[in-house]
Symmetry: C2
Amino acid sequence: MTDQPQQAYDASRYDRPSVTVDVVIFALKERELHVLLVKRRNWPFEGYWAIPGGFIKMDESLEESARRELEEETGVRDVYLEQLYTFGDPGRDPRTRVISVAYFALIRPETQTLRRSEESDDVRWFPVREVPSPLAFDHDRILRYAEDRLRSKLEYSTIAFQLLPEVFTLLELKHIYEQILGEELDKRNFYRKIREAGVLEDTGRMRGNRGRPARLYRFRRDRREGDFVFRWREARLHHEDAE
Amino acid sequence: MTDQPQQAYDASRYDRPSVTVDVVIFALKERELHVLLVKRRNWPFEGYWAIPGGFIKMDESLEESARRELEEETGVRDVYLEQLYTFGDPGRDPRTRVISVAYFALIRPETQTLRRSEESDDVRWFPVREVPSPLAFDHDRILRYAEDRLRSKLEYSTIAFQLLPEVFTLLELKHIYEQILGEELDKRNFYRKIREAGVLEDTGRMRGNRGRPARLYRFRRDRREGDFVFRWREARLHHEDAE
DNA sequence: TCAATAGTGTCTTTGAGACACTATCCG
DNA sequence: CGGATAGTGTCTCAAAGACACTATTGA
């Protein structure tokens, strides 16, 4: 390889790795953050749980590949999807050199229609705190990385809304933040900040089974991600410790 | 492809893309932020400037590949290196499907010993505001992405120190922040924040040509990145608009 | 009227930004 | 002593966190 290999290129001269896209799929189920895993049926890591993923096709972009993967696993099309990191250590897959571009996806509960039954033997939602360990390949690391990113972005963006149904109560929103951050938040301060951010729209509707009914809100989609800065609190360092 | 292609894998069944690692190399030269570009000698984009990069080898990790690339171009070994994003649109390279894992590197001025002369016809440092446009491939986008990341991380981490020599004055540090953020900062507020962060060590030495000599500082390497949060000011949203 | 849940206001502390003068060195 | 550059302190304002009671509903 020369100093500037792109200048004298002959594709056949180089071995090519396989490239996969893996998608860490998060969803809220029964008020808890869950992640979707698939059970491997073959060598290597037969019987281990893994993050769903697959090889890219030559004519689709990485993101298209991630969306396809996501739809194959969950049947869901309208999701929040973000590229996470690319994992490519030699030896992470014993079969051949595999480079994996990891994405993470947040899906809304109303759209959770798994292709196979949720209780299927080979595709299952796990609460993030009860993920079987170890996972196949370096998927523990990928999952940890995804959780870090989620936690970190929660604090300066509106991604949390991507996990909620169309309408929700303030306490449901607060609950997500507590779930992901792993700590309790003060209700009054939380309400204040959310309101000041101006990202919610009052639907006028209410919901309640027992006790005082709660006001239902909707996320203001007219305020596009990036148009404003919603900071829940101090941003932490992104722990980009992978690779 | 099945729903879970990893479970029934036959490497030969899938076409494989080429994988490159491109490294956006930043350095401070004559008090200005520069980026290293190489001029292409062959089709495609013959004569265009490009971000240095090369094909990965089958037995090296992505980061090793980036370090190798960096050393080939600059002869530099001890640098700050961080994975940026992976670009993989089909058609971004007319020769074949190429997936490029982009890194960005910050190198210190004292180590700037280019292999070829800096005035060489095919490798050159450009001030970031005077980069020739368009670059080869989708490299404009990659460069923009790297600049965004740099700007964004400047505000909540200590990467700026990676651009400075071993010892430096407070005004030199302030100058980097101004360079990258593209705005003037108040000297007194800047000094206060830096001091409060406790990341600097006074060397006791001074430097001055004209006027009052300036105190020389050293970055406290004992405080590892991530051990503390150094926030210069409000973190902005990471603009992860790529792909 | 009680159990259950939703919703609200104030004070204190901390950090950010605006702002201008004094100190030291060299020639 | 004058030109050049380095270094310092205070006030104001905004945002964050701590903190406890009232409101509404259905059984």
